[in-house]
């Protein structure tokens, strides 16, 4: 009654359906490859080789994945509260400001291991602030958070352009970016870890923020499933009425959750700004905030799903770049299509295959459908 969708056994719900959805998304992407006159199989081979075939490839794959873990977690935390934070892109962008302020202020004062935690705080605080305004507007004035976060993406973009062509730009420079930070505001690279595994790398953008991203994945898991706050977030996300009954304040939970989401998105800036480019430049987010939506949907909002989903997208980013050397018709923008298809099939059309799958399962083994335990009578 309460759910208009057909019931399936748990293994099909959590295992089969997502796999089918992903498969369809990639199959359609394969069609696009065919459409531009290339072989999907060859493209896939190149992609995997490009992403994992060399130490440098792995380094880049994980570097991209780092950003996607942050943004994926950001979207997921909001999803758990029933909120759609589409503003990860903007929150990450202004998060870069937090990193830059810390690095520009202290890069010749503190060593990196002091600057790093400060930059984490800076990026998280500004990201959280940027998410807080739409959250307050939603909680107190009923403004639709999807629309306001979209608007805030654009406002963030304008703000950052203003700052980077103006106040933050060194006087003698033409490029819209800050000065390069001193080395004490650079995050250590992780190339040596890959070398431990036998890879040989000249340089890699992979840096310590990858470890931070993994730590954050654990933190988010703990937050959502092991803290009182997470319990309240999930209660509100599943049933606002039950949350009210349980004494969970609506405004508080919306604002706190969005701030956590914004903080995670903001931290994404650490990876490119402090870990690789060592300066704040225009458009450094390059869509990672939006990739987070696909990553969160694909990972079903669970860190254990988000990390592999982020690595998959990192692989697509890195492998996509490699493909374009061999297949000039396919550039990294292929990933944007795949991202869209994943969001479409794993998100909006999530339930498309449910009825037919249910029918198929029922005809294969009627018993497996009887397994759904709702009819179990106790007492």
């Amino acid at each position: 009654m309460s759910t208009p969708y057909a019931k399936l056994p748990a293994w099909a719900d959590y295992g089969l359906i997502p796999v089918i959805n992903l498969f369809v998304a990639f199959a359609v992407a394969g069609l696009v490859v065919l459409l531009v006159g290339e072989s999907p199989v060859q493209a896939a081979t190149l992609l995997i080789k490009g992403a994992f075939g060399s130490g440098a490839g792995i380094g880049y794959t994980l570097y991209y994945a780092t950003s996607f873990i942050f943004t994926g977690l950001a979207v997921a935390v909001a999803f758990h509260c029933g909120l759609f934070n589409i503003g990860g892109e903007g929150q990450a962008y202004v998060g870069g400001l937090g990193v830059a302020i810390v690095c520009l202020s202290f890069d010749s004062v503190f060593p990196w291991w002091v600057n790093f935690p400060l930059a984490i705080l800076g990026s998280a605080a500004i990201g959280a602030f940027w998410a807080m305004i739409p959250a307050i507007l939603q909680a107190k004035r009923g403004s639709h958070i999807v629309i306001t976060t979209i608007m805030f993406n654009f406002i963030a973009a304008s703000l950052m352009v203003y700052l980077l062509v103006g106040p933050l730009k060194p006087a003698n420079s033409m490029a819209p970016q800050t000065r390069t930070f001193a080395q004490d505001a650079w995050l250590p690279k992780l190339g040596w870890v890959l070398e431990l595994f036998g890879a040989s790398i000249r340089s890699t953008p992979l840096n310590l923020s990858f470890v931070l991203a993994l730590v954050m994945a654990v933190v988010v898991w703990v937050l959502i499933w092991r803290t009182k706050l997470g319990y309240e977030i999930r209660t509100y996300g599943f049933s606002p009425k039950a949350a009210k009954y349980a004494g969970v304040g609506e405004a508080r939970i919306i604002v706190v959750t969005m701030m956590l989401s914004g903080a995670l998105a903001g931290m994404m800036a650490l990876n490119p700004v402090m870990g690789d480019q060592h300066r704040l430049q225009l458009d450094f987010v390059t869509g990672a905030g939006f990739v987070g939506i696909a990553v969160a949907l694909m990972g079903r909002s669970h860190p254990a799903g988000i990390v592999p989903a982020a690595i998959l997208f990192g692989m697509l980013y890195q492998g996509g770049a490699e493909i374009s050397f061999v297949m000039p018709n396919i550039s990294r923008d292929m990933i944007v299509i795949i991202q869209g298809l994943v969001i479409l099939f794993a998100g909006a059309l999530e339930h498309m295959f449910r009825p037919s799958l249910q029918a198929a399962l029922a005809s294969l083994s009627p018993k497996s459908m009887g397994m759904n335990a709702t009819k179990r009578e106790g007492a």
Binding site: S2, K228, G230, Y231, E232, G378
Partner: protein, 510 residues
Amino acid sequence: MAPAAIELKGINKSFGAVHANRDIDIEIPKGTIHGIIGENGAGKSTLMSILYGFYQADSGEIFVDGKKTDIQTPNDAIAAGIGMVHQHFMLVENFTVLENIILGAEGSQLLNAGISRARSELHRLEQDYGLEVDPDAVVEELAVGLQQRVEILKALYRGAEILILDEPTGVLTPAEADHLFRILRMLKDEGKTVVLITHKLREIMAVTDNVSVMRQGTIVATRKTAATTVEELAELMVGRRVLLRVDKGEPNPAAVKLSVRNLTVKDSRGVTMVNDVSFDVRAGEIVGVAGVAGNGQSELIETIAGIRKAVSGTVMLDGKPIDVTGAADPGELRDRGLAHVPEDRHHVGLVLPFEENENAMLGYHDDPKFLNGPFLNIDAIRADAREKIQKYDIRPADCRLKTANFSGGNQQKIVLAREMEHDPGVLIVGQPTRGVDVGAIEFIHKQLIAMRDGGKAVLLVSVELDEVRSLSDRILVMFDGRLVGERGPDATEGELGLLMAGVEAREAAE
């Protein structure tokens, strides 16, 4: 004899496991007002939705004017001359009256012709039936009674010969209701057939020619209104249920725990749901609130529990006020020893996708025993859940199972266990056994008696009259938002039934 306006034969309809209509046969003569009465959930609205093509029956036949008619969609019903006034008006609120009336019956691609035709037709209907309403008024600015008039006009404009009204007086003032009845009689005099669905006996007696009584999805009787009595109908409606014997000793009422004074609550539409209600509940007694569903009981307990805001009045818990008109918070009330088993366990009392143990602490998740600082103490939570599972015999005995996978009775036990085990001073219980299997009912009743005997104050709301009678030490009857009487546990079913149906207390005594 002319064929019946409507004849239904062998109608069946199930929603999942719920058999909403079972082998319904009914014949409604032309030019009469036919009442269908029954408690909420008896299947009245489902039956009429089938007749209107909003749902399709699983089996059975419909005859209109003696002709077998296949009604698949509302369009078919409209074509067969059936119009319906829904309980929740099917109006577009920011449209004008005229726009609402022509929606779906515009007549042509352009509106102008349809609108001017509707305007003159409306004028005619107005004169014929006294259905006055400003055609250019925006619906959301009209009073509820006028909105309903628009619904009736909508049906008549489509040429309805048979008009179904689903609980039409629920939102009306008595004066508006009387006006509605005058309109219905006028429609009848014009040869229209009217089907009136209601749970109010007074209305049946006042306006219908014939009445069919529904109970648990079936028609249990059809009578000529003139040849029946309120008592007979009340009994047919409530049914002679087997009174569940509950062993209980004499109550020992002690100090007043919960004191409600002049409480008035309005819903989001501004309709008064609880009207100037006052009562006390003492430690060591169960006070039952009897009433037909929808007479304000739900709003009453939600307000006391801090979920809903009151317009005016005071509520005292242990002699200290609850801020019912302002910032009362369920969490804070819980801390003060007020436990609440809500009526709607699926959406309020439980989070169905949660594991059992997560629900076993819902609302008590601030309790330090479940926490290590900001972290959940998973071991303690699960141990506590297992303890409750054992004590309340919740099955399956698996605290990691999703709550949605428990049966209704076991879900209710999860809620009860949670609310009772925190040793509250006051327990508010709404519909404790709705959708609960018989075995669990007995268990739940025993637990409630045990609470009473343990010196707790229990406020029980149930639409099951039996339940209220067998558990309560005092019975309050609620009708139309007011407390219309208080009786002892020995009050007869008939006496209570009349009170619940809104028959004045004085009449009932006679």
